[in-house]
Amino acid sequence: MITLHDGLERASKFDELASTLQLRRYEWAFLLALDGRTSAREIGKSLGLDDTTVLTMADFFLEQQLIVARSYSLSEYTRLFNVKNGAAPTTASTAVNGIGSPAQTRTGASPISFSLKRKPAAASTPTPTTGPSLKLKPIMDFVIRQSGGGTTGQIAAYRVLLKVPRPLLQAMKIESINFIDDNFELPNHEAYHAIVDGIKSVLNVTYQAA
């Protein structure tokens, strides 16, 4: 699991995996900004992304083995973040944001307390203003339009959903999908990307969210 305070970096297989990916603009921007030192939150902030979106996106990238959370030896940590051995930062954020400014220190060692914990609901529900919309209807409408509309288009949408791995479909825990339901949202970005991949596979076009 990734926290907002982690320094992230691209995984060794990143170049190989990235060549097959279709991502949103801000997702590429996030991936390419990773330097192993700057915290996920700070990078997100620099891109105008909220914490929830950053966590959801980072978790997805971690699952896809595109990124890793960086670990440091003591000497690396003290060198990179200007922390003297034996001293601890006064706040968690100064200890982990690590964007180059000297951390505030105080004498005497005390455990660093990380108070930020991910809320279970927030992990899979990005804020619509910054994350890709997880609403299914615009995606299905796109598929139907691309396939000529009507029942033929709806059958094409069905074939796209067939490309989504079965465990992921089951995880949605939904009985049925109605093409006219405006409110149905996919449970996570994994499902979203599986459907986008399905569109590519069935229709040979790339889905671009409006």
Binding site: I155, Y158, R159, K163, L169, I177, F179
Partner: protein, 147 residues
């Protein structure tokens, strides 16, 4: 089969009802069934193969099947005979489909089921379900493709 071919299958089914009973079915908004699995009293399945393998099926309530048979001058109500009758209906539809598609698609002998008994598809196969009304009855045309 392509999406257009599958649509043709649906058209053939609608045309069958219209021609045989002189009452055209009215198509409703389709749904994709994932975990839910609905089959009505009597269902006829047509196996399709080619690029997409799977089943096209018609599922209808007993009352509708009786009314369809009545339109054809039959008055049957025995369960096994009704099962045979739904088999005959899908056989005719299959034959019409063969006529349309020619030899390019393999369409096997129909399979019938009463309820979910002997149904060749399971709830694990996502299904495209197109509800339709025929007279006062509600029925379904379904498509279940292997991924």
């Amino acid at each position: 089969m392509t999406d257009k071919d599958l649509k043709v299958f649906i058209d053939i089914i609608c045309h069958y009802f219209e021609k045989t009973t002189r009452h055209a079915p009215e198509l409703k908004e389709p749904v994709i069934e994932l975990n839910q699995f609905r089959l009505l009293d009597y269902t006829g399945f047509i196996k399709i193969s080619g690029n997409n393998q799977g089943w096209v099926y018609i599922s209808m309530p007993k009352g509708m099947l009786l009314d369809v048979l009545n339109c054809m001058g039959e008055s049957l109500s025995d369960r096994s005979i009704l099962l045979d009758s739904v088999g005959e209906i899908v056989s005719i539809i299959t034959s019409n489909a063969r006529e349309h598609f020619g030899a390019q698609f393999q369409i096997s002998v129909p399979v019938t089921s009463a309820g979910k008994e002997n149904a060749p598809i399971s709830h694990e196969m996502p299904r495209f379900l197109l509800p339709f009304s025929w007279r006062e009855h509600q029925a379904y045309v379904g498509i279940a493709l292997l991924a």
